[in-house]
């Protein structure tokens, strides 16, 4: 079975290459569907496959840039990318990430940065999950109220309308993001991007996990647009991160290329699935993914607090990530296949008539 293992020329480790393809496929599906880079699942995944942590992170950002580019191309053809909004936010993201990175270096100089960062991560993920499910509950309450009044809620309306309130703050210059259907002060996306970039910089993540809900809840973007626009940003910031990690010698290109082959297929499945799932469907599954990620981070944090149970807790964290990734990937694939089948059947029926 030697042919199933490949020697990585830079990291110098023998890697089970079908594992890389499967990992790429999974992150392609989930990333394309939610608009995420997926570092929270790929980095531990690469580590489990045998990469040292430094190479796992560098290789992850390299494949993330390529994969997000593939997904952005597909989302772009659906009209799900607001390039002007993406570029506007990119400016804020760069500033925010830099502030966050400087803050981490300052924390590093004075001590235990890992513990602090992980707890911030836990609080943040808990907040995101709470916002998503509070929004779902609010939307249901609105529907119930409308039903009692004999009315109907617009299919574009959200439960939480923070975006609309923030859009109402008119500080010049005002910008119309046509594709996203958002008219707001230019400072709104810039400030949101600085905030999400700062958090991403502190946590050392790509930021999609924070930016996608921020686009929906703070800027008031429709979910599909938030997914596509976020991927555009992930692709650009991923390229920058790739340059940085590669220059430091921490990227295994061969592994990134193998993963990209799987991700190319996965991204198509994930992006096309958004055609058949409504915005709230994406939001609910995203909320579940955040909970999966939260449990994994909590388990790793507990592992560092209780060294005696470290092995069990780390294994549980890995099992949690793999379980969630598999379950969500299967759900998205089923949705895509059933939606495509129904569309093709409807087309045939229309042609028959």
């Amino acid at each position: 079975m030697d042919w199933l293992y490949l020697m990585m020329p830079i990291a110098g480790v023998n890697i089970f290459w079908p594992g890389l393809v499967i990992l790429g496929l999974g992150v392609g599906i989930i990333g394309g569907f939610f608009g995420l880079g997926g570092a929270w699942m790929v980095t531990p995944g690469l580590n489990i496959l045998g990469f040292p942590m430094a190479f796992a992170i560098g290789t992850d950002v390299a494949q993330m840039a390529g994969k997000s580019l593939i997904s952005t191309m597909r989302h772009g053809r659906f009209g799900n990318v607001d390039y002007l909004l993406g570029i506007t936010m990119l400016v804020g993201t760069v500033v925010g990430v830099e502030i966050g990175a400087q803050m981490v270096m300052w924390l590093e100089r004075i001590g235990r940065v890992d513990q602090v960062v992980r707890w911030i991560y836990v609080v943040l993920l808990a907040c995101i999950a709470w916002i998503v499910f509070a929004d779902v509950a609010k939307r249901k309450a609105k529907e119930r109220e409308a039903l009692q009044a004999g009315k109907e809620v617009s299919n574009l309306e959200s439960g939480l309308d923070w975006g609309a309130k923030l859009q109402a703050i008119r500080i010049p210059p005002m910008v119309h993001f046509k594709q996203a259907g958002v008219y707001c002060s230019m400072w709104l996306p810039v400030c949101v991007a600085v905030f999400t970039g700062w958090l991403a910089g502190i946590l050392g993540i790509g930021g999609g996990l924070i930016r996608m809900p921020a686009l929906v809840y703070l800027i008031g973007c429709p979910t599909h647009l938030a997914v596509g626009t976020d991927l555009f940003e992930v692709a650009i910031s991923g390229l920058y991160a790739t340059a940085s990690f590669t220059y430091k010698g921490r990227t295994e290109l061969l592994a990134a290329v193998i993963m990209l082959c799987g991700a190319a297929i996965g991204a198509q499945i994930g992006v096309v699935a958004t055609k058949y799932v409504k915005g709230y469907g994406i939001r609910i599954v995203f909320g579940l993914a955040v909970i999966g990620c939260l449990v994994s981070v909590l388990l790793r944090q507990l592992a560092s607090i209780f060294p005696d149970a470290r092995v069990i807790l780390n294994n549980l964290a890995a099992a949690d990530v793999l379980g969630f990734v598999s379950a969500i990937s299967i759900y998205i694939t089923v949705k895509m296949v059933s939606g495509a089948k129904a569309e093709i059947a409807a087309k045939k029926q229309a042609a028959g008539n």
């Binding site: 840039a65 390529g66 799900n80 609080v123 429709p222 599909h224 390229l239 290109l253 198509q268």
Partner: protein, 102 residues
């Protein structure tokens, strides 16, 4: 809704205080590690292409980084077009979608 706002304010304050208190929480530990230089071991690489790639890594990280920066987006575009081509063959409409939240 008022209750929801109060819960949100509480969670926000907790998150904010955690961020603000982070430096004092971390004050007790030691300094950071020194950077490590990694060298690719080319002695056991049999494939010529991989050998050349590892050799380039050892000689210049800048060339290595530039090559990676060219290869990744290029490969992303090529794979994107190829996957798109095959997806179009399924007969699905890949140009339009209905924008609806519910």
């Amino acid at each position: 809704m008022k209750k929801l706002r109060r819960v949100w304010a509480f969670v926000f304050c907790c998150a904010l205080s955690l961020i603000l208190l982070a430096p004092s929480l971390a004050a007790a530990a030691g300094g950071g590690a020194k950077p490590i230089a990694i060298v690719a071991d080319t002695r056991f690489i049999e494939n010529d292409l991989l050998h050349w790639w590892a050799q380039m890594y050892n000689e210049s990280h800048l060339t290595f980084a530039l090559m990676t920066m060219i290869i990744i987006p290029l490969l992303g575009c090529v794979l994107g077009f190829v996957a798109d081509f095959f997806m179009k063959m399924t007969g699905i409409n890949l140009e339009h979608r209905e924008l609806a939240e519910k």
